[in-house]
């Protein structure tokens, strides 16, 4: 993280330096150009002043004559002497008057030529012809000769001998005809020195400014950006490691730019995350505790149902098997079986409305009450009426139980039963299971004045009874189809000869195959009792 910050600073500083350097170069270059331009202009103006002065010395009307005759006179010598004086006093290099061939502007015939002795050159004598005029001067010469005005561009040359500027003017005779051109070349001696001094100054001032600005900027950047960001980064790293609240607030929160907002937000976020984690920890702990207690509840509930098979290994008169698969951790279904006395076996199958813990608690009460009230010789209708009354007291949740209880007299095969809103049982007679249509009373714990009537049927050795809850017939597949009575009857008869402990797994397997991947909504509880022989 620290590495990244450093790189950020480097990039920021480098870009600032680059911008300042580019700006300085542009300013220096522009200044340099302007400076040169002004100096050149100055020198050129001076050269023109000299040319104007020299022009007054001339007698233009005579120039044609000189050229035609090839002879000069005393006046010519006097003028040349004055021009020689002027070239020295005005500190020019050359002052010359020449005739330009107007066919190509390339041929120059010198009339006067004064040379400053300081240049070391010697003059062109009268009548000297030069044919090598630099082509770049041609346009200017043409302009001077045809308009009689100044050259449009400055005439400059930068050679090894130094910088020069030339002024050129037309020489007109008394009729206004241009007869020659006068040229004055002046050396721009100061230009080089002044220019390099200028550049040195600009560069050093710019460098100093860059250094100062940079220093100030770096200090500011460090104070206002780098350090606060490093602090925030450090804080974030610390929090990521230990997840504890910060010991002190961040200095960066006092930052007046966005960084201040960032720092405050980080602190706020940390506090919220901490609080959230604490809450989550508490909730998770609570959830684990509840989960553990639910496990215990499931265990208690499971152990309340008889689950050791065979339960009565010394009994040869009957065979019994039961199973329960809860949909949630603790279910509302229950089964029970117990010996009322030596020769009477009771079976109970019940389903509490609703699911989860409330249903399980209600189930425990219901199961205990039914077992407690089933005493030898008692009418089952009375048992249910009493149990119903007790369940109705303090039933704030308005839960209810559908229940079926039957008592088999092992000596006679008489099977007494009572039904409180429960599914009808299947009875196997002569190797065939059929649903036994028995009258049902209202559910338990629904209405406290409900009356229940005991029914009775006769079972012979070899007959069997299959009882279940609605979780079996209402098991639902992915297409929302119910398992139903027909499928149940079919699978029972397919396994009609099976012993109870083989029959129930076979039914369960058939239900599972039907349901497929669809979730199980309800507890699946079944009980099978086979009456094998009469008790002696």
């Amino acid at each position: 993280m620290k590495k990244k910050n450093r790189r950020l600073a480097v990039v920021m500083v480098a870009s600032i330096v680059a911008v300042i350097v580019i700006l300085s170069v542009i300013v220096a270059a522009t200044g340099y150009q302007q400076f040169t331009h002004v100096l050149e202009r100055q020198y050129n103006d001076t050269a023109y002043e000299v040319a104007e002065t020299a022009l007054t010395y001339l007698d233009p009307d005579k120039l044609e004559g000189y050229l035609q005759s090839g002879q000069t006179d005393e006046e010519y010598d006097a003028i040349l002497a004055r021009l020689d004086e002027l070239v020295v006093s005005s500190n020019c290099n050359f002052i010359y008057v020449a005739k330009i061939d107007e066919t190509d502007y390339m041929t120059t015939t010198y009339i006067y030529d004064s040379v400053n002795p300081a240049t070391g050159f010697s003059r062109y004598e009268f009548g000297y012809v030069s044919r090598d005029t630099d082509p770049k001067y041609v346009d200017d010469l043409k302009h001077i000769l045809t308009t009689g005005g100044r050259a449009e561009k400055y005439l400059y040359s930068y050679t090894e001998s130094g910088a020069h500027t030339t002024a050129g003017l037309a020489v007109q005779d008394s009729t206004g005809k241009v007869v020659a051109v006068i040229g004055v070349e002046k050396s721009m001696t100061v230009l080089y020195g002044a220019r390099s001094t200028y550049v040195r100054w600009v560069v050093s001032i710019a460098a100093a400014m860059v250094a100062l600005t940079l220093l100030a900027y770096l200090l500011w950047l460090n104070r206002m950006v780098i350090r606060p960001i490093a602090e925030i980064t450090g804080e974030a790293k610390r929090f990521a490691n230990d997840g504890e609240n910060p010991v002190a607030s961040l200095r960066a929160t006092e930052n007046r730019y966005e960084i201040g907002v960032l720092a405050s937000s980080i602190l706020k976020m940390e506090a919220e995350i901490k609080q959230y984690i604490d809450n989550l920890t508490a909730v998770t702990a609570e959830k684990e505790r509840i989960g553990a207690e639910l496990d215990i509840a499931t265990h208690i509930q499971a152990s309340m149902l008889p689950c050791i098979f065979p339960p009565f290994p010394d009994r040869s008169e009957f065979d019994i098997y039961a199973s329960m698969n809860p949909a949630k951790e603790v279910g509302g279904d229950f089964y029970d079986f117990f010996m009322v006395d030596e020769s009477h076996l009771a079976i109970v199958m019940a389903d509490v409305s609703g699911k989860g813990v409330p249903a399980a608690l209600f189930m425990v009460i219901g199961k205990t009450l039914i077992k407690d009230h089933t005493t030898p010789g008692r009418d089952l209708g009375e048992v249910f009426m009493e149990v119903n009354k007790l369940l109705c007291e303090g039933n704030g949740e308005e839960l209810f139980i559908t229940a079926f209880e039957g008592v088999l007299d092992l000596k006679t095969g008489q099977f007494n039963f009572v039904n409180a809103g429960h599914e009808m049982p299947f009875i196997r007679r002569q190797g065939r299971y059929t649903p036994e249509k028995i009258r049902a009373g209202f559910v338990l714990a629904g209405m406290d004045m409900t009356r229940y009537r005991m029914g009775s049927l006769q079972m012979e050795p070899g007959d069997a009874i299959f009882q279940y809850t609605d979780g079996v017939t209402e098991a639902t597949n992915a297409n929302n189809e119910l398992y139903g009575m027909e499928r149940l009857e079919a699978v029972l008869n397919k396994n009609a000869a099976a012993a109870p402990d083989k029959l129930l797994p076979a039914v369960k397997a058939d239900i599972d195959a039907f349901v497929g991947d669809a979730p199980q909504f309800d507890d699946i509880t079944m009980l099978s009792l086979e009456y094998k022989e009469k008790m002696k």
Binding site: T402, G421, H422, F442, G446, D470, N480, D522
Partner: protein, 98 residues
């Protein structure tokens, strides 16, 4: 499950559509708790109801108990499957089925 509510003064009509089971029964329970105050005639229309579980029966029993105190409750358009459930569980005896 979809519940279509139609209230007219002290008459409340609820039409149920779909499955009334463990997962949807709390929906009907909440709807009844909210709307049944002051109602003297509650009508439940079961013509579009496909399935009814014991959790649904429990809500019907609660509603019947409430309506016993403040008026009457009628269930209409009960199909064969659900009628069978009412008969098997004995609910047919305590409910008014029209």
């Amino acid at each position: 499950m979809t519940i279509t509510k139609n209230q007219n003064g002290t008459h409340l009509d609820l039409a149920l559509e779909g499955r009334l089971d463990t997962t949807t029964a709390p929906q009907l329970e909440a709807e009844l708790k909210q709307s049944v105050g002051g109602v003297t005639e509650l009508t439940l229309d079961f013509s579009q109801l496909e399935y009814l579980s014991s959790a649904g029966l429990r809500v019907l029993l609660s509603a019947q108990k409430v309506m016993n105190r403040q008026g009457s409750m009628v269930i209409k358009n009960v199909n064969e499957t659900i009628m069978e459930i009412f008969e098997v569980t004995g609910f047919a005896d305590i409910l008014t089925i029209a």
